[in-house]
């Protein structure tokens, strides 16, 4: 399963389990910070501590996986963007960039 690959990427080389053992972060704290982390909105320090915890703690790891799947499902709802609209908007923008304000 490739799910943890992106967490591992954020690691800086330390042994994961050892890192989790040393970190002060608790399961409760993970619960609070997990969503920001998955959204890429954590600070680097928090992200590292979280990634280590998720790798070492099965319960939190599964919880992270569920939230990631929810995020993925929500992202899949994206409707196909109307190509004709986008094309018109692109040429509208281009025209502004080339000829300036029509008024």
């Amino acid at each position: 399963m490739s799910f943890f690959k992106k967490f591992k990427k954020k690691q800086t080389g330390k042994n994961l389990a050892e890192n989790a053992g040393n970190s002060a972060i608790s399961c409760r704290q993970v619960g609070q910070d997990l969503q920001s982390f998955l959204d890429g909105e954590s600070t680097e320090i928090t992200a590292e501590a979280l990634a280590a915890h998720l790798e070492a703690c099965k319960d939190c790891g599964l919880e992270a996986e569920v939230y990631q799947k929810i995020k993925d499902a929500l992202a899949r709802r994206a409707p196909e963007l109307a190509d004709d609209s986008l094309a018109r908007l692109h040429s509208f923008g281009k025209q502004l960039a080339e000829s300036g304000d029509p008024e």
Binding site: D39, E41, E65, I70, L81, L96
Partner: protein, 182 residues
């Protein structure tokens, strides 16, 4: 405006605004729920951006544009939202149209069931929760950008978003789909 100033505005517009066209259109679709209105809103936003671009400091163009878009949207008549959400059956259609040679059909079917359950959970949420989910998960905005687009503090975006997903997660835990899978 002098010719030189005009040329500078055009250059800045090309640099800061044009690359954001698709994101602006996505957010506009979330706001208006309607292709024609979304297109109008983006054009309106582009014009306003063009006229203000000499005062823009060049930092965080997307956040700047979304703030302009929000103000433009406020000035428009907000339509009633007849069809708030997409029909989950559409996802089934997508599965039917997927080439079996290039896609893992089984995985897509499992995803589809999961997606339909997430969709159902989402539909039970109020509009302010759906709004943040669309801004972040669907349109790919950062918390700050979503806050600018909606016009609320970042903390409000965070709490709404996290609560919304927690509600969906709770729904999944009690539904059939979550049983036997993680």
């Amino acid at each position: 405006m002098s010719a030189a100033a005009e040329a500078e505005s055009q250059k800045r517009f090309e640099t800061y605004v044009v690359p954001e066209t698709e994101v602006m259109f996505r957010v506009a679709m979330s706001i208006t729920r309607n292709k024609a209105d979304a297109e109008d809103l983006v054009q309106d936003t582009m014009l306003r951006a063009y006229r203000a671009i000499d005062r823009f400091d060049g930092r965080h163009p997307r956040a700047w544009l979304l703030t302009i878009m929000r103000n433009a949207a406020i000035n428009r008549v907000r339509r009633k939202r007849p069809e708030l959400l997409r029909d989950p059956d559409l996802t089934m259609e997508r599965v039917a149209n997927t080439d079996p040679d290039t896609a893992n059909v089984e995985a897509i079917v499992v995803d589809t069931v999961f997606d339909a359950e997430v969709e159902r959970a989402l539909q039970s949420l109020s509009e302010k929760f759906i709004e943040v989910i669309e801004m972040v998960d669907l349109n790919g905005l950062s918390y700050q950008e979503a806050a600018d687009a909606i016009g609320v503090p970042v903390g409000t975006v965070m709490s709404r978003l996290h609560r919304a997903r927690a509600k969906i997660r709770k729904h999944l835990a009690t539904s059939e789909v979550a049983k036997g899978r993680t």
